[in-house]
Symmetry: C2
Subunit: 166 residues, 2 copies
DNA sequence: CCGTATCCACAACGATACTG
DNA sequence: CAGTATCGTTGTGGATACGG
C-alpha cells in the first residue's frame, strides 16, 4: 500500500483550451450523466459481478453482498438504463431460468470499472489487490492507458481539453 | 446518441481463471474500496472540477453545481482521503488564499474519470459530448484503452481474471 | 429459485441563513 | 472569500417476512 502524500511532488494538471468559463451545467457533462446512471455503490458492485460472469439473481445479491430488495431495485434500473438484459434461458428438460446479461452498452463500461479497480489496487490495497487482468493470448498483465489516435501514450499533464463544435 | 439495444448482439464477457467462487467479500475488492472513496455524485463532480483546474472553494461549489455545505463536506473528505491538499497560497501584496490541489493519488484517478466520461459521450450524449481530450504534442484525440504489457490492445472478451498470490 | 412488501436507519443533498 | 449551522426531503440500503 502506498501512503497518501500530504504534499504532492508532481502535479499533473490539465491546461485547458477552455475559456475561463462560468459553470458546467451538469446536464451537458458526460461524466455527470454517466454518474447518474451508475451512481450507487450497489450498481457498481452488480456490474462488477456481471463482468465476473454472474447471471442469476441470487448470485448477484450474495456475491455483491447486498440485500435482495436492493439487488432487485438496482437490477431493474440497470435493465431500464439498457446496461443489462433479462433473457429467458431454457435448457432442454429443465425449467426456464432467468439470466441477466450485459448489453453492449453495459459491456462498454468495462474500461471505467477496470480503471477504478486499478486505482484501488495501487492506492488502497496492501498487496496490489486480489484480482489481476491478463491478456489471454500472451499472458501479459493488462492495464488502462490513455492513448492518442497517433498511438502516443499520454499522461494527464500532456492533455488539452477542447470544446467540441458541430 | 446511440439507443440502448434490448437484445445484445455481441456480448463481451470475461472468462475467469477464478474458481466457481462463493462470494466476494467487499473488503478485499479494489473496486469496492475505490467506490467507498468516491462514492457520491458530488465527489465525482468535485474531482472533475479539480482536473479542470478549479482550486477555490466557491468555484468548486458553483461549477460543480452543488451547495456549499455539500462542497465543504466532500472537499474535507477528499482531503482526508489524500486525493486533494489544501495549500496556502500567498502572492506578494495579496492576502492569503486557499487552493485545493490534486495530490498524486488524486491525479492518478484521471483515467477512471476519463473512461467514465468517454462512456457518457458514447452512450448518453446526443452529439458526442461537450468536451474532448487532445494530445497537446500532436493534436490527436485521446481515448482510454486496455493494453497488455506486450502492447496489444485488448477487448474485455480477450481477458482472463486471475487471483493474485503473494 | 426469483423475487416483492414493509419498515426503519442513516446518508446525501438543496435551501436558507449566518460568521470570520 | 471560505466556510458553518440548521432544517427538511429524498435516496440508499439492511432486516425480515412473505408469494410465484
Amino acid at each position: 500500500m502506498t501512503e497518501a502524500k500530504e504534499a504532492a511532488p508532481a502535479m499533473p494538471r490539465l491546461t485547458g483550451a477552455l475559456e475561463p468559463r462560468a459553470s458546467w451545467p451538469a446536464t451537458g457533462c458526460s461524466l455527470a450523466r454517466a454518474i447518474d446512471v451508475v451512481s450507487t455503490r450497489s450498481a457498481f458492485l452488480l456490474l462488477r459481478e456481471a463482468f465476473y460472469g454472474t447471471s442469476r439473481f441470487d448470485d448477484f445479491a450474495t456475491r455483491a453482498g447486498i440485500s435482495e430488495p436492493v439487488a432487485a431495485a438496482r437490477l431493474r434500473e440497470l435493465v431500464e438504463a439498457g446496461l443489462l438484459t433479462r433473457a429467458e434461458y431454457r435448457e432442454p428438460g429443465q425449467r426456464a431460468r432467468l439470466a441477466y446479461r450485459l448489453t453492449e452498452k453495459g459491456a462498454d463500461l468495462f474500461p471505467a470499472l477496470a480503471a477504478l479497480m486499478e486505482w484501488g489496487d495501487r492506492w488502497l490495497a496492501e498487496d496490489g489487490g486480489p484480482i489481476g487482468l491478463r491478456h489471454r493470448d500472451c499472458g501479459e498483465p493488462v492495464a488502462v492507458e490513455l492513448r492518442c489516435a497517433a498511438g502516443h501514450r499520454t499522461s494527464p499533464g500532456e492533455l488539452d481539453l477542447v470544446h467540441r463544435r458541430r
